[in-house]
């Protein structure tokens, strides 16, 4: 059964879309990631233009983050103050990102920049995650549990505009979270991802936030950043396909529930190695596409954009 997507302007089998939503939802539930980094390339593979894929995925992430943050909120795992500070940077970043997106599209270089961002960020994150989790897997027996400090202080924390974040037990410069928020906002706009795979490590290692509040806080600010991206992409580029987003998230929420349950049966390190391999796989495929000689060196540009 095919459905004609009004903004993407292609006809796709509805069960394929539901299946994609379900599969990516399953993985995001399993690994606790947003899944945007998988869904956006998948949409591009099935023929959705990168511009529509990125903008529509931002819309879908709003929904998955809302349902995710409600669960964390009930457990009190959201640092709202930190969330708002990240959000200041995030909003500025997404405004800048959507502007950059429009400029790149008019230059004909949008597809290239999207692919390059994916290869670079997924490559780095995947490699680091793979190394870290395989090391953890081999060391499991030894149990060298050294009590660490609550968090490491470094010069970045000492920048001006210091603020106290009670839930995160931090007293650091607000400039650092604003900067991190900004970078993730730019990525959300250009790559159609929640940026969780950058945000979460940055919160743990750069800000030194306790792990318990990291995911909830990250999700909280992602809602607003992706909502901003959705709004700006709609207003500026008309690239958000609501019908596509609704189908994907229907499959996504169901898949995520099954994935969460499956995830409880697997060990953390094994999960992270699997996720790392998957991230590296996506990065490798995109890298191959950039390097391999295309069948036709000529292509028609997106309508209106040249």
């Amino acid at each position: 059964m095919n459905i004609y997507l009004p903004i993407a302007e292609i006809s796709v089998n509805i069960f394929l879309l539901l299946g994609m939503g379900g599969a990516v939802g399953f993985l995001s539930g399993l690994f606790g990631v947003g899944g945007g980094f998988l869904m956006t390339p998948l949409l591009i593979f099935i023929g959705v233009t990168p511009a529509v894929a990125v903008a529509t995925e931002a819309n879908q992430i709003v929904a998955s983050s809302v349902s995710g943050v409600l669960a964390h909120w009930r457990r009190g795992n959201v640092d709202f103050k930190m969330g708002f500070v990240l959000l200041i940077g995030g909003t500025m970043g997404s405004v800048f990102g959507v502007w950059l997106f429009t400029v790149l599209r008019s230059l004909g270089q949008l597809d290239l920049v999207i692919s390059l961002c994916y290869v670079v960020f997924l490559g780095i994150v995947g490699a680091l995650m793979f190394l870290e989790s395989s090391r953890a897997l081999f060391r499991r027996r030894r149990q060298t549990d050294i009590r660490r400090k609550l968090h490491q202080h470094h010069w970045l924390h000492g920048l001006p505009l210091k603020m106290r974040f009670r839930r995160s037990k931090l007293y650091i410069s607000a400039l650092l979270p604003i900067l991190i928020g900004f970078l993730v906002g730019v990525l959300a706009a250009i790559m159609g991802v929640s940026g969780g795979f950058i945000m979460v490590p940055a919160m743990i290692y750069l800000l030194g936030m306790p792990t318990s509040v990291v995911v909830g806080t990250s999700l909280f600010q992602i809602i607003f950043v992706t909502a901003t991206v959705t709004f700006l992409q709609s207003a500026q580029n008309q690239t958000v396909d609501v019908i596509l987003a609704l189908i994907l998230l229907t499959g996504g929420v169901i898949g995520a529930q099954i994935g969460t349950r499956a995830g409880m049966r697997l060990r953390g390190e094994q999960l992270r190695i699997l996720l790392a391999l998957m991230v590296l796989g996506v990065a490798g495929k995109l890298c191959f596409d950039l390097v391999a000689t295309p069948d036709d060196l000529f292509a028609i540009g997106a309508e209106g954009a040249y």
Binding site: S67, L70, L232, S234, R261, F298
Partner: protein, 248 residues
């Protein structure tokens, strides 16, 4: 097939027309409007008509014209990057040509060039002010045609207009799922001795209909409001999902 019945009854009507024989070319479509609805997967439109005996028929379908950019990729530090572009003006977004025999057998080169019968005779010119040599423009023009053919928007080389008897003809025009919207011109040519002796133009409208059309219209005319609604829908869906799966 009800189309066959339509065709037959029309043929009878034509033959019964007073003064039949003085109008050498009559042609019509089974539909003058294609609606892209939610379940749209492409469609066929039947073109049929009658010509004088011992004539040939060529049909040229043109979609609305648009400006199209052709990009060429080049290698930069090992990766393929768009490095050269040529903008073409007034490119038909959709183009199809049909005939009852191979074009070169029934139409002279002059005729084909004058009426744009065959993609190689389309007037595809680089935009005013483009700094491009004639040879380079030719390569980009061929690339444009090749890409359009690959996406099914240029359908050429179909010598499958069928004659029923000596005068009645018909052909099925296919419009794929990605057919551009707008006003189409369908030109039917009657040829004798390689030259056009009669021509008729029939309009066809391709438009979005139903929910998809409303969504598209809304997205383009009330962009900001559309964005707000998109966000609101996503938030609502997220809340519903969280509520439904709360107990688990």
């Amino acid at each position: 097939m009800h189309l066959r019945a339509v065709l037959l009854s029309l043929a009878i009507m034509i033959l019964a027309l007073p003064g039949f024989g003085q109008t050498p070319l009559i042609a019509d479509l089974s539909e003058h409007q294609i609606q892209i609805t939610t379940g749209f997967i492409g469609t066929d439109v039947l073109l049929f008509g009658t010509v004088d005996p011992d004539s040939h028929v060529v049909v040229v379908v043109r979609g609305p014209e648009e400006t199209t950019t052709v990009w060429r990729k080049g290698r930069l530090a090992g990766i393929w990057v768009n490095d050269r572009r040529v903008v073409f003006e007034r490119v038909p977004s959709f183009y199809a040509v049909r005939s009852n025999a191979p074009l070169r057998e029934i139409a002279s080169v002059t005729t084909r060039r004058r009426h744009g019968m065959g993609a190689e005779f389309l007037r595809l010119r680089p935009e005013e002010g483009e700094d491009v040599s004639e040879g380079e423009a030719g390569i980009f023009r061929q690339a444009l045609i090749r890409n359009k053919q690959r996406s099914g928007l240029f359908a050429t080389g179909g010598d499958n207009i069928a004659f029923l008897g000596g005068q009645l003809f018909r052909t099925r025009l296919h419009f794929p799922a990605n057919v551009p919207t707008g006003f189409y011109d369908i030109e039917v040519f009657m040829l004798q001795n390689g030259r056009v002796v009669h021509a008729q133009t029939t309009p066809l409208i391709v438009r979005k209909a139903g929910l998809g059309a409303d969504v598209f219209f809304f997205a383009h005319n009330y962009s900001a409001l559309y964005g707000i609604i998109a966000v609101a829908l996503a938030v609502a869906a997220g809340v519903i999902a969280a509520f439904v799966f709360r107990k688990s």
